[in-house]
Amino acid sequence: MTINQISVFLENRPGQLANICRTLAEADISIVTLSLADTAEFGIVRMIVSDHDKAKEVLKAAGHVANMREVVAVTVPDRPGGMAEILDVLDAAKVDIEYSYAFAFHHGEKAVLVFRFDDNEKACAALAAAGHPVLDFKSVLEEAK
């Protein structure tokens, strides 16, 4: 079970991230999570938003380079070593993590990890088998409310 994530190329100049957020706000799209990966030369913004197709459309219309990727969101167990448990499962299943980032929902104490794997199917199966619930888009939106 995967979730769509929208990624946008970020040129190294001031105000670029704000522009992207404004473009989405003007189209009435809310940002559920936002993670920024950058180097000294350029950056990549990764977002889970309320409407990915529309987001991609408005960002492209505004002249940005954007693409859609499938990622896996999993809840981190609320106990010591919770994060390590998940990583161990993935390690044992021999899936490669292209990248990952964490976020917390506003109200709860729950943390969520987002992963991009080389093989999403295999990773999901391994997580499910080990009893770690993989979130679908609806529940991510629910939790974010």
Partner: protein, 419 residues
């Protein structure tokens, strides 16, 4: 004419050169004055090699003598003017006689024939019409061969594609960059030939065009000062561009010492018109860099071949003491298939080494949300450029359509270095 044996060809050239020198000496005051300064008279030209005794001419002469100071024929023989604005102020003006127009048309026809274009082909001429020679040159060449010509001129890509499809166009003449920008051209059309010229381009650009559109990309060369498109063109063997040297006598010189260079060496291309009356041009410096080759071409044509113009001496940049041409950067970028050749060179002075940056627009195809992938892309662009120019510029990835354009073209070089 194309297959004329070399000896009679040289004899014909000498005869025509002697005629031209005498003609210009008698009618063009600036040429006569310069010959007198050098102590040269028409009868001193006894062999083709004696051409080196004659003074050069340059674009600035045409500008200084504007409008018609270099005219050879009387006004009642002039049938058409062509002009080019140049980048600074005064334009240049070239008066042509009917015979000059015929020679020009003939050159374009010889090129089209060489490309395999025949009566029955539909030729879309997307070069500009008017004072610029591109449009009319291919127009008359195409009509001369019995092609159906579509004189659409430049601009409005959608209409270009609609008419191309509806009229069954088989050949288009335009600049390679215009064609590359509207690569959709090929889609469900009958297009088979592209006739490209009027700007420097590279083998990589040709390969890209042929790979992406399935057409055959032909080279054409010409310039208003000498006649127009059809001074030279490439045959199917792709050994270079055959110069119609029965009308346009070529030389290659060292642009610094102005000494003639032997065939095979790269230098500035110089032309002498040897059958032109309206505006005879003697040893005209084109600023184009190329070399001439004498090897026999498998096609059997005896007319000498020059390499495609990939650089102009005017465009040359000296960066960290190395000669760099924008075309080389373009060639490097074309080696990385996911990036479009949309780039800008930025040069700035610093306390130490000048800053040398190349901005490259990221395309949808090139974008990945994996940082490593993007870093790798940057590195591949750098490696490709570095392997050609031997320098290490800073490569910056920028968003698409952000490099400033004027009339659809990106300004290739921003040189802010202190002079």
């Amino acid at each position: 004419m194309d297959y004329m044996p070399v000896e009679p060809l040289r004899a014909l050239q000498l005869h025509r050169l002697q005629w031209t020198v005498k003609y210009a000496y008698e009618r063009v005051p600036l040429f006569r004055k310069r010959c007198e300064e050098r102590g040269v008279r028409p009868e001193h030209i006894k062999t083709l090699a004696d051409i080196k005794l004659l003074p050069f001419s340059k674009k600035t002469d045409l500008r200084d003598e504007y409008p018609m100071g270099l005219r050879g024929a009387p006004m009642d023989e002039i049938v058409r003017f062509h002009c080019s604005s140049g980048t600074t102020g005064k334009p240049i003006c070239i008066p042509n006689t009917m015979q000059d127009i015929e020679v020009w048309k003939n050159g374009a026809m010889r090129c089209l024939t060489m490309y395999g274009i025949r009566a029955g082909d539909v030729l879309q001429v997307a070069y500009g019409y008017g004072l610029f020679t591109g449009g009319l040159g291919l127009h008359y060449g195409g009509e001369g061969l019995g092609c159906a010509v579509l004189p659409i001129s430049g601009g409005n890509t959608e209409r270009q594609i609609m008419l191309m499809r509806d009229l069954g166009v088989t050949a288009i003449a335009c600049t390679p960059s215009y064609f590359l920008q509207g690569v959709d051209f090929r889609r469900d059309t009958k297009l088979r030939h592209g006739i490209f010229g009027a700007e420097p381009w590279t083998d990589e650009m040709r390969e890209t065009i042929e790979r992406e559109t399935g057409i055959v990309a032909h080279d054409i060369y010409g310039l208003t000062e000498i006649s127009g498109p059809g001074v030279a063109g490439a045959c199917p063997h792709r050994t270079g561009l055959h110069i119609w040297e029965d009308h346009f006598y070529p030389e290659i010189i060292d642009p610094d010492t102005l000494e003639p260079l032997p065939d095979g060496e790269v230098g500035e291309l110089v032309f002498t018109t040897i059958s032109r009356c309206g505006t005879p041009m003697i040893r005209y410096r084109t600023r184009d860099l190329t070399r001439l080759r004498t090897e026999k071409c498998p096609c059997g044509r005896t007319m000498r071949v020059m390499d495609r113009i990939s650089a102009r001496s005017d465009d040359m940049l000296i960066i960290h003491g190395v000669n760099v041409f924008p075309g080389q950067i373009e060639a490097g970028l074309l080696r990385v298939p996911e990036v479009a050749p949309h780039y800008q060179i930025v040069l700035e002075s610093t306390d130490t080494l000048d800053r040398f940056e190349i901005k490259v627009e990221v395309t949808d195809e090139a974008f990945s949300d994996d940082i490593r992938h993007m870093e790798n892309l940057r590195k591949r662009v750098l490696d490709a450029v570095k392997s050609i120019i031997g320098l290490t510029p800073k490569i910056s990835l920028v968003e698409p359509n952000t490099l400033p354009r004027s009339e659809g073209k990106i300004k290739r070089v921003i040189d802010n270095r202190k002079k």
